[in-house]
Amino acid sequence: MRNILEWTCLLLLLATLRANSHSPPEKPTLTSCRSPEKETFTCWWQPGSDGGLPTTYALYYRKENTDAVYECPDYFTAGENSCFFNKNDTSIWVNYNITVVATNRLGSTFSDPVDIDVVYIVQPNSPENVSLTVMEDKGWPFLRVAWEPPPKADTRSGWITLVYEIRIRLEGENEWVIHVAGQQKLFNIFSLRSGGSYLVQVRCKPDHGFWSEWSSASHIRFPDYFHREKSTWIVVTVFCAFMVLSVTWLLRMNGHSLKHYLLPPVPGPKIKGFNQQLLKNGKSEDVFSALVMSDFPPMSSSNYEDLLVEYLEVYVPDEQEVKSKELHGGCFKLESSTSDSDSGRGSCDSHTLLMDKCGPSNGNGDHPMGTEDQVGGRDWDDGLDAKEDMSGLDVGRVKTWPSVFSPLPTSASSLLNQQISRELTKHHCLSDSMFCTQGVLGPEFSLCSAQLAMPQLIESRSDFNIHKLSAEKDRVQAVTEDTSAILQTFVPQERDYSKVRRVGSGNMLLLQRVSERGPDACEEKSNSAGTNVKTPSVCLHSAMQGQKDTVLATSGYVDTAAMVPMPTY
């Protein structure tokens, strides 16, 4: 008996316990409402816990500004926990107030109300019949994507307006490229990879609403237009090969000159007598001894013809010494050819300068010639004549010396520039002590210049008739064309030469007496006549110290005649 009582008590307890776990249902939640075509819509809800009891759900709605409450017309079409509003029940631009009620035995619970306007909840289905075709535009292929709107959406009547989007990617890649297509139903995609395999999807959206799902992927393989690219590559390759070949050929042909153009050869040291081999061999004494030129100063007459300038010895016929001339004094002008086109004359040789110098000292207006020299005097009379005659002479030019042979007094102010014409230089007499040229100025005209121990640079630039170099002696020897008068102060033993400093303008021969003069006198005489030879004028104004001694280069005398090959004109 007690056992039965206990058992019933226990059972009752259990029963009550079980009965106490039931509860009214929990509040359901409206999750979403959607309309696929703006003509119907569906609402879904999420039920809460049912409280352990069978619970039913009901959806009620109220339209805007009306009091009538309606229940969901269709709970089944859209599935579980849904309510489907068909066309008759759907009004656009009307607010719906929707509530879901969960009811069980113990009670009912209302969900939170939701206000919706169907216009704003439109989410269409995906576009359908996505077709991909490869088309060609002037030989270049592109992809045309075409589709149709979702079948339920009535875009044809204009009730709903959809805009579309396309996305495309290569197979095997992750990045989609999105193209906005607007309201149109086809779209062209260009610049796709040849031979590429692509996936394409389309989706749509109404004016205000939600995007649809992407359509199922359509697959397309883009054709190979490789051959077209290949032809381009072929052309490019051929062109490059052609360029390479031509460059190679050019290099072969002109490689040497090109090399010279790009990398000009560095001039090496060219010292006469310098033997690199000797240097390499290592004996410095040999090297330096080799440097000493055996033929320096040149004594032989072998190169005389190469000498550019020939010395003219001016011999004064009588015993008088030719005075050296004052620089500031008179000037002894020797006529030279009238024309002097030489423009390279230095200032020392300026015509006007010399004229200025010679002018005032000249007693004779016509013959601005005169010198305080002893060259003047009787000799000068002859010289005058000589001058006159020589005025007609075209020749009488001392050839120019190349400047390389001018280890000269660096003052280099004026230069005796004379140019000996070819005719004049026919005869060269060069000796150890003297060399002279005998020219055909007139056949009798010969000017010999003294040879100096040191070669002297004379650069003649114009038609100087006389170029006088005289180291020790003052001697002027002039032979004119007509006269055979030779202004010569001739000392048989030795020759006295007057040092012609310069032949300045106005046919002034500036002489300097070596013995007396210091190294300062320097006169100019420029050639009034024109010459073609342009040579700079070097002023020889260094003093002459020695007599017959070797005249240092500083003295201004350079025996260039021996060294310089006479240019033959």
């Binding site: 003509e39 500004n65 306007d117 009535d154 204009g158 309201q183 139903k185 004016d207």
Partner: protein, 222 residues
């Protein structure tokens, strides 16, 4: 006297003639817009109207809306605007055009009042932004209305529209208004409701125009 009459008559004729012919610059040949062009333009304008109204509504949406509290109707509620596709298609083109014009006409006064009340309130809460938008909205609606009228004329010319005269509808909104604007005292709450109505009506207009376009000129776009 007769000369004066004659002069006046010629002047009138000239003025009429001038008015009838389209005036183009530099005497160039005028490009007369096609119906499609007019439709394009009108729909663009209605889109613009709708976007402005949406912006305006969004600004005021924070305020409580009377429509949630109680009964509240737009002042255009009794204009028989079709609320679904079937109704919209059952209306003919002419009626649909009329509805559009009525809707557009109903908003002229309320918008002006809205602009004024917004301007009054702008010192308190917002800047001139909203009131300017309201003014712009008013202009847009006026333009749109004129455009729709032109469109209707063109349709009539082409025979698409029946010969019923589509006269400019009188501002009906004033007669049936239940909006607070009529009372003169406008609060942001009232603004909110008004703007809500405006947004909706502009969307209706846009949709009706689209229906008209697609029924009149079916093409690739529809």
């Amino acid at each position: 006297m007769t000369r004066g009459y004659f002069a006046v008559l010629t002047l009138l004729q000239l003025s009429l003639r001038v008015r009838s012919a389209p005036i183009c610059a530099f005497g160039a040949k005028c490009h007369v817009p096609t119906l499609a062009d007019v439709f394009e333009r009108v729909i663009q304008q209605s889109s613009r109207m709708h976007s402005i109204s949406s912006d305006l509504h969004a600004e005021f949406d924070s305020y409580p809306s009377r429509k949630q509290v109680g009964k509240w109707k737009c002042h255009t509620h009794d204009i028989l605007a079709p609320g679904d596709k079937k109704n919209a298609q059952s209306l003919g083109r002419e009626e649909l055009t009329q509805v559009i014009l009525r809707l557009l006409g109903a908003w002229r006064d309320p918008l002006l009042q809205l602009h004024q009340s917004m301007r009054q309130q702008q010192e308190e809460d917002q800047g001139p932004h909203s009131s300017n938008m309201a003014l712009e909205m008013s202009d847009v609606i006026q333009e749109l209305r004129a455009g729709v009228l032109k469109m209707a004329d063109k349709m009539k010319l082409l025979g698409v529209l029946s010969g019923n005269t589509v006269a400019p509808a009188p501002p009906e909104g004033a007669l049936h208004s239940s909006g607070s604007y009529k009372r003169g005292a406008a609060s942001p709450v009232d603004h909110n409701d008004l703007l809500h109505c405006l947004s909706r009506d502009s969307d209706k207009v846009k949709n009706y125009l689209r229906i008209l376009q697609c029924s009149t000129l079916p093409g690739l776009e529809c």
